[in-house]
Each structure stands twice: as structure tokens, then as C-alpha cells.
């Protein structure tokens, strides 16, 4: 396959960026999108030029490091697929592909396609946990959890923290990410205890980080590589109002 790439190049957080045109020949349809970029980068290195910077690590769709807006869509055209699991067979010979970083005020660009998503870590630090220390906990089977609750908690805990939900949202809202964590913990008896303070602390941190508000457009659910459901956002809002009224 032959591909025409338009790639965002930006040398630093405060520098101006631009789209660079690159022709890529002999692309194997069986290669992944990132392997295609690897080939481009090797070519650049051989010619003494700086390769394109992008975050990636596990390349199995689970670590959440890879990002990229591909033709305007976070993680590209395939549903429930991270960029690293996207393969070139999803494109046609001769296609032009525009590759940009995830864009949001709370995700500043570091270089080229790499952005800083540490805002997500700070939201978790504000309360995305059960406050237990190591040791002194009851037997794991001491407290039964209804299978449906455990399964739903798992589905929400499957979030990989990639930030696609923010990148696609016209308000750059982190509501899907935050609500998934709240649901994961609230559905389990171990996490229920702190549910009220958790929703207050995490949503407050979300606002402080500069994420926008949710206006229910549903783009987040559509691009989420792990299929996290939007209904979590309604649950979060209900819990938030309850907590605010009580506090």
C-alpha cells in the first residue's frame, strides 16, 4: 500500500506546530498503524532527521499509552480499538491520513504527537481508591458481592486511562473517565463506604485540571476503546447532587 501522511510536528510545548507531509511506500496491510509509523521513523533516522514522537508501550491495547487523532477520530476509524491495535488493512491504498495529537487544554502537547495526561493521575490521587492500607483486611470471601455488581464494576474498571473520551469531546470533558472510576468503586461494598466524599473530591479535581463540563453528546462512549458506557455519567451526576445537598 501507498499512504500519504499529514503528521502534526511540534518541537515543544510553547512552539508553533504544523502538519508535515510524508509519503509512505510499501506499507503492509498486516502491519499495525504504529508499525507503519515505526517504518517512517526508521527512514527519518537513516536520513539524520528527527523521528516523530508519540506515546506507545504495550502495543496490546491495554496500557493506555497510545493516543493519536487519526483523521479527526481518537484511536482512528475502528470501534473499540486502540491506535496500537489498529491495522493498516482498515485503510485503502492511496489514502491520505491526518495524524494529530489528542487535543484538550488539560492535555498540553509535549512534542509532536505526545501529550501530557498527568491530569488523569491527579484525579485518581484525589480519591480514586479505597482507603485501605496493606495488611489487616478480612478474608476475600468474607463479603459476598452479587455477580452482576462485580461484573459491572469490572466493566468500568476496564478503563485504560487513554484520554480518548476527552480528546473527542467538544468540551474536553473528563466525565466518562471520572464516572467510570466512581462506578467501579461504588458498585463494590469495599468502595461504597467512601462513595460520597470520593465523588466530591474527584469532580472537584476534574474541574481544577481545566476539563470542560458534560453536555451529553455521547462522543466519548462512541470512541472509548474499552466500551465504557455513558450511563456512568448520569450516576455520577446523581451522586454528586446527593453529596452536595448532604454536605
Amino acid at each position: 500500500m501507498k499512504i500519504h501522511l499529514k503528521v502534526w510536528r511540534q518541537s515543544g510545548p510553547n512552539q508553533k506546530g504544523r502538519l508535515e507531509d510524508l509519503e509512505v511506500k510499501d506499507v503492509s496491510p498486516d502491519s499495525s498503524f504504529l508499525e507503519m509509523l515505526d517504518v517512517v521513523n526508521e527512514g527519518l533516522e537513516e536520513r539524520g532527521k528527527e523521528p516523530i514522537v508519540f506515546d506507545h508501550d504495550c502495543r496490546e491495547g491495554i496500557c493506555g499509552a497510545c493516543s493519536l487523532n487519526i483523521n479527526g477520530v481518537p484511536h482512528g476509524p475502528d470501534r473499540q480499538t486502540t491506535t496500537c491495535q489498529l491495522h493498516m488493512r482498515s485503510f485503502k491504498d492511496g489514502d491520505t491520513i491526518v495524524v494529530e495529537p489528542f487535543r484538550a487544554r488539560a492535555f498540553p502537547v509535549i512534542k509532536d504527537l505526545m501529550v501530557d495526561r498527568s491530569a488523569f493521575d491527579r484525579i485518581i490521587q484525589a480519591g480514586g481508591y479505597v482507603s485501605v492500607s496493606t495488611g489487616g483486611v478480612p478474608d476475600a470471601n468474607g463479603l459476598p458481592v452479587a455477580k452482576d455488581d462485580a461484573d459491572e464494576a469490572f466493566e468500568n474498571a476496564a478503563c485504560i486511562g487513554c484520554g480518548a473520551c476527552v480528546a473527542t469531546c467538544k468540551n474536553a470533558s473528563a466525565s466518562l473517565f471520572v464516572s467510570a472510576k466512581l462506578s467501579h468503586l461504588r458498585l463494590l461494598p469495599q468502595g461504597k463506604v467512601e462513595a460520597k466524599t470520593r465523588v466530591l473530591n474527584m469532580t472537584q479535581q476534574m474541574e481544577e485540571e481545566g476539563f470542560g463540563a458534560c453536555t451529553n453528546t455521547g462522543d466519548c462512549e462512541a470512541v472509548c476503546p474499552k466500551g465504557i458506557a455513558m450511563k456512568n455519567i448520569s450516576s455520577m451526576n446523581v451522586d454528586l447532587i446527593k453529596s452536595l445537598l448532604q454536605s
Binding site: G12, D30, E42, K49, G64, D121, Y129, K147, H184
Partner: protein, 637 residues
């Protein structure tokens, strides 16, 4: 090099309890005064950081990823073992201990393994209390499955994402401590050297990957939780960033490297598709619970799998190992697949593949049941290969996956360098020559939650640790060497990419030191590595600057260390004139092609000492005593 394993005396079941009582404690008010550095935030590093911070130590934690949540433990799929015996099927601490020593082909340290089995039960309690959503049955109680060669169901799991769920649990515990300011977290920061002052590990040199600046961090003890070295093979199931630099740099500073030739080749991975391939993808071996492995009985059979009748299929694992069948341990399953493919029975375009077939399970249990168990794995397979595994069998082939070797540690998880602790996959201690499925997660969390937080206190309580001044000569020297190395890479200005060298090294390592090894192949590779390494230093193209984000430079530094490391892997494989676990020397096999151990001469840990660049390393031995599990020929027939 002095190797004292410091195994406590007394009966094995009492060793850990007695040891915990005899260890010195640090007064709660004094814990605040001690600082500990942790490198890596996988299961071992994150759990250790959180647990030590909870106890009151000041912790500084480093990872090269943009967030501690992305460490490669996250990709572990199948599950975590624990001797809970919830299924009432005869499991016990003794049985888990026995299975692990046997599975490791009698090359691990009994006392460590027993302790691992003991604390396994606490891990599950801890994770559930953190809100880890393990699979449950309709009673609301935890579900278990049998896994990787075990005849009891002791594996706890969360679909095919157990590593993710456990890591998120540990990451959240760590996040809580970061919020409480008990842990200072340094993401996107890579350790490039170890600082030793007066014989004790006291700090590390790091590079801030965003700004490119080099700095040093000092502490009372350094904990390495930096994972394994499978990427020495270039193609492996490890993440792209996994590397040997932290442990290799510590080795260069005096830490013994134990059993580097013990590498695990995982039997159920997706076969290589082509030259462009950057990594291999593993699919949980839990698939072997319901999938049957076969190849055609006819050589070079190119018919579609569905066109090959039952009578013309060779279910070679069931044929060779009737009692364990498709569930034989990883090393055995991998070698059997290689044997069939080498003999010309392999399937797929490259001939390097065997079928993993679910048709009968789907008939028996229904597609829905299979989807519930393995849905995400089937989806992943389809995304990568473009084939639907519900309709035609998967094709699988073995791939490098985990490394049992690592820095040598004593019973307290301290290396031979005082104050340098090594946990998780980065150490060598618990898996011998072969790791059983679902035991890596168990070991990482055992070390981090329940072993290191105790043993490090004993060290800190007894050690005389004077403050090291900021301009100490050792700090300046380590920083200078690090910076010189970076400059050397940048000033080469060659025209070959870093990846091209990594691929060349990887192919050499895979051919000479992969699933089977020979004396001549290993010797040949030992001659070749220095040639490729020299080319690397003369021809590599590392562009960009040192003072900014530079992924090319990061990669070049890691590959340079893999060149140095590859040599001790080969030396170790050459010195171990026997076959055991993942180490298979063709010269040492039974008439049936099974691994042939030599307990008389090789019942020891091989610990390598660094003697200088391009010098032959020196090997030291820790003899292994088997008091409770008598070594036998490992048989799964």
C-alpha cells in the same frame, strides 16, 4: 563476591514467622527519617511503594512511562495463584509450594518459594479489599480456574485482564500515598546508573525524559522493580519500553546477575506476520483449558483446517502427555510446538505455527460460554490477524515472554550490594528455571506488599547510614559517566537506525539462545555480538538533542545495554551443561527428547560478576539444597 542467602534456620513452615519476629523494627517516629527509592511501578514497585509509604517511610518512586499505571504488569492476562483452597479440591500452601518447586525444575530456593506460597493467601484478601473486581460466581463468592499445568483450581482472575485489575489496585494504593505526600512520584524519568557510597547503594542517576536533564537522587536504600529482559530477543511479548538498563547498570556496579539464561518462551502467542513486526502478542494460556492443540498428520498439509478430518489431525500434546494433555507447563508445550514445526508439520504461511482449536468446546458449551470466558482474547486475535477464531482455529507459536533470571537476592530480597533490594521479575529468586502460569503476579505482589516492607526495615534499623553530601565524588562520577555515554551516542551520527541493530541482536539471540541451545551456536553468537556492537557504536544514527524529549536516544541507550547483557546470557547458557526448565541444551536430552537435568553438577544458582567491558565475567555458585521436595524427573506423561 560473597553470596550468603541468609535462609533462616528451623522447619520450612516456621522460617518466615520466626524471621519476622527476629527482624529489627524501625521505631515509627524514625521511619519518617528514612528515605527509600523505588525504580519501576509494576505490581512489585507500586505495591512496595504504597506499602512502605503507609508504614511511614519517605518514598521516591520512578518510572519511564508517563503514568505509573502503564507499567507492563498491566498486560498480564490469565490470573494470579493463591493457596486459598476455596474450591475444596485439595489445594494447600504445601501443594502450591511443591508445584512451584517442581515446575521450576528444581532450580529455585525452597525457603523463598515456601514463603511465596504462604503469603499468596494474603494477596487475594488485600486486592479484594482494594476493590479489585475478580470474577465471581452466582453465590457472590470468588471464582477460580485451573491454569498452566496445575491440577487444582487456585487461579483468581478478572476475565483476561487480571494484570490490569491488580495493577490498577496497586496504582490506586500508590496514588493515595502520592496524595498524602508520602510518595514523591517521578513519571517519565529513567534510571541510568546506581550510586554506591562506602559499599552501600545510596542513590540513582536519572534522566528526565521530557527536559533531558540528568540528576541524582539519594536515599537510604534503593529498590529495583524494573522487570525482565525478554526484549533482548527484540521480538517478545514485553512492552516496547521494557529494558534491562536498571538491573544491568546495577550489575556493572557490583550486583551479581543470577541465571540470565533462564528465559520463558510462552506457548500461546500470535505467530510473526512479517518483517515490520515490532512486538509479539501473547494470548493467555487459559485458552488451553478449552482449546485443543493440533497439527496435520501429513507434512506440509496446505488444506484449510476445517477440511482436515479428525483422523488426520495430530493432537500432539494429548498424544505425548496423556495425563496433562494440553495443560502441560509452558516450557514443555513450547518445545513440543517447535519440534512439530521443525519436523515440517507447522501451519500458516511461515510454517511456524500450530492450531489452537475451540470447535469442540463451542459445540459442547455454546459460543456464549466461550465468549464469556475468552471474549476479549478472541477479539484481540481477530484484530491482529483479521481471522475469526470462532469459525476457524487460532494459529499460535511460542514467543519470549518472561525471564526467570535476574539480580541475585538473599532471603531478604537484598542483592550482594548492601542496601540494594530487587523485587518482582527483576530478581531471580522464586521461579527456578521455569515459571508456572499465574505465578508472576503472585510473586510481584508478594514481594511488594508482604516481604520487602518487613525486610527493608530490618536493614534500615541495623545500618549506619550517614548523610551523603550532594557533591560527593561518587555522585559526580556517575553523572559524568552517564552524560558521556549520551554524548557518545549522539555524536556517532551514523546512518543505521537503532531498531535495525536491535533486530539484528534479537535474531542472533533467538537463534542461539532461544528455545533450544547448542554449544557451537552459543560460542558462535559470543563471537558475533562484539562485531555487531562495534558496528552499533560506529554506525548508529541518534538524532535530536540530549536536552529535550528524545525517544530515539532513550532507545539507543537501552539497546546498547542489551548488547552488553546478551553476552552474559550466552555465557550462562554455555556454562550450564544440562537442560532444565526453559533452558534446553540439545546435547542434554533424553531419548524421547525431554530435558535432561544434571542434579549432581548443576543444582546451583549461577551468579555472574562483572569484571569490566569485554572481559569474561566470573561465575559464582549458590548451592541449592532440597530438603522438602526431592528432585525427580519432571514428568507430565
Amino acid at each position: 563476591m560473597k553470596l550468603n542467602a541468609k535462609i533462616p534456620s528451623g522447619p520450612i513452615q516456621d522460617k518466615w514467622d520466626h524471621h519476622r519476629f527476629s527482624m529489627k523494627l524501625v521505631n515509627p517516629a524514625n521511619k519518617r527519617k528514612h528515605k527509600v527509592i523505588v525504580v519501576g511501578t509494576g505490581l512489585a514497585g507500586a505495591s512496595a511503594s504504597a506499602s512502605m509509604a503507609e508504614l511511614g517511610y519517605q518514598v521516591e518512586t520512578f518510572c519511564f512511562q508517563d503514568s505509573p499505571r502503564r507499567a507492563h504488569s498491566i498486560a498480564a492476562q490469565g490470573g494470579i495463584n493463591a493457596a486459598k483452597n476455596y474450591q475444596n479440591d485439595g489445594d494447600s500452601i504445601w501443594r502450591l509450594f511443591y508445584d512451584t518447586v517442581k515446575g521450576g525444575d528444581y532450580r529455585s530456593r525452597e525457603a523463598n518459594v515456601y514463603r511465596l506460597a504462604q503469603v499468596s493467601v494474603n494477596i487475594i484478601d488485600q486486592c479484594v479489599a482494594q476493590g479489585v473486581p475478580f470474577a465471581r460466581d452466582y453465590s457472590g463468592l470468588l471464582d477460580n480456574r485451573s491454569f498452566g499445568g496445575a491440577q487444582v483450581s487456585r487461579t483468581f482472575y478478572a476475565k483476561g485482564q487480571t494484570g490490569q485489575q491488580l495493577l490498577i489496585g496497586a496504582y490506586q494504593a500508590l496514588s493515595r500515598q502520592i496524595h498524602a505526600k508520602n510518595v514523591r512520584m517521578h513519571p517519565r524519568t529513567e534510571m541510568l546508573d546506581l550510586i554506591i557510597v562506602d559499599g552501600k547503594a545510596r542513590g540513582i542517576v536519572v534522566r528526565d525524559l521530557v527536559s533531558g536533564s540528568i540528576s541524582s537522587h539519594m536515599a537510604d536504600a534503593v529498590v529495583l522493580a524494573s522487570g525482565g529482559y525478554s526484549n533482548a530477543f527484540y521480538l517478545s511479548t514485553n512492552a516496547m519500553g521494557c529494558n534491562v538498563t536498571a538491573t544491568w547498570r546495577a550489575h556493572r556496579k557490583g550486583a551479581g546477575f543470577a541465571n540470565p539464561c533462564y528465559t520463558q518462551i510462552h506457548p500461546t502467542c500470535i505467530p510473526v506476520a512479517g518483517e515490520h513486526q515490532s512486538k509479539l502478542t501473547l494470548m493467555s494460556e487459559s485458552l488451553r483449558n478449552d482449546g485443543r492443540i493440533w497439527v496435520p498428520k501429513k507434512k506440509g498439509d496446505t488444506r484449510k483446517a476445517s477440511d482436515i478430518p479428525e483422523s488426520e489431525r495430530d493432537y500432539y500434546l494429548e498424544r505425548r502427555y496423556p495425563s496433562f494433555g494440553n495443560l502441560v507447563p509452558r516450557d514443555v508445550a513450547s518445545r513440543a510446538a517447535k519440534e512439530r514445526c521443525d519436523a515440517g508439520y507447522g501451519v500458516g504461511p511461515s510454517g511456524l505455527g500450530v492450531y489452537l482449536d475451540f470447535a469442540q468446546s463451542i459445540d459442547r458449551l455454546g459460543q456464549e460460554a466461550i465468549e464469556a470466558r475468552y471474549g476479549n482474547l478472541f477479539d484481540m486475535y481477530q484484530k491482529i490477524t483479521g481471522e475469526n477464531p470462532y469459525q476457524s482455529p487460532m494459529r499460535i507459536f511460542p514467543a519470549p515472554h518472561y525471564t526467570m533470571g535476574g539480580l541475585w537476592v538473599d532471603y531478604n530480597l537484598m542483592s550482594n550490594v548492601e542496601g540494594l533490594f530487587v523485587i518482582g521479575e527483576a530478581n531471580f529468586s522464586d521461579h527456578g528455571a521455569n515459571r508456572l502460569g499465574a505465578s508472576a503476579l503472585m510473586q510481584g505482589l508478594a514481594d511488594g506488599y508482604f516481604v520487602l516492607p518487613y525486610t527493608i526495615g530490618d536493614y534500615l534499623a541495623q545500618s549506619d547510614l550517614e548523610k551523603v553530601s550532594e557533591d560527593h565524588a561518587e555522585i559526580r562520577k556517575a553523572e559524568q559517566e552517564t552524560s558521556d555515554r549520551i554524548k557518545k551516542l549522539l555524536y556517532t551520527k551514523g546512518s543505521r537506525s537503532v531498531d535495525s541493530f536491535h533486530r539484528e541482536l534479537g535474531r542472533l539471540m533467538w537463534d542461539a539462545c532461544g528455545m533450544s541451545r547448542t554449544q557451537s551456536g552459543l560460542k558462535e553468537a559470543l563471537k558475533k555480538i562484539p562485531e555487531i556492537e562495534e558496528n552499533f557504536w560506529n554506525q548508529v544514527s541518534v538524532t535530536g538533542s540530549e536536552g529535550s524529549m528524545n525517544q530515539n536516544l532513550e532507545k539507543a541507550g537501552r539497546v546498547a545495554d542489551f548488547f552488553e547483557f546478551g553476552k552474559i546470557m550466552l555465557h550462562d547458557a554455555l556454562a550450564r551443561e544440562e537442560s532444565c526448565g526453559g533452558h534446553f541444551r540439545e546435547e542434554h536430552q533424553t531419548s524421547e527428547g525431554e530435558a535432561k537435568r544434571d542434579d549432581e553438577n548443576f543444582s546451583h544458582v549461577s551468579v555472574w560478576e562483572y569484571t569490566g567491558a569485554n572481559q569474561t565475567p566470573v561465575m559464582h555458585k549458590e548451592n541449592l539444597e532440597f530438603e522438602y521436595v526431592k528432585p525427580t524427573q519432571r514428568s507430565y506423561k
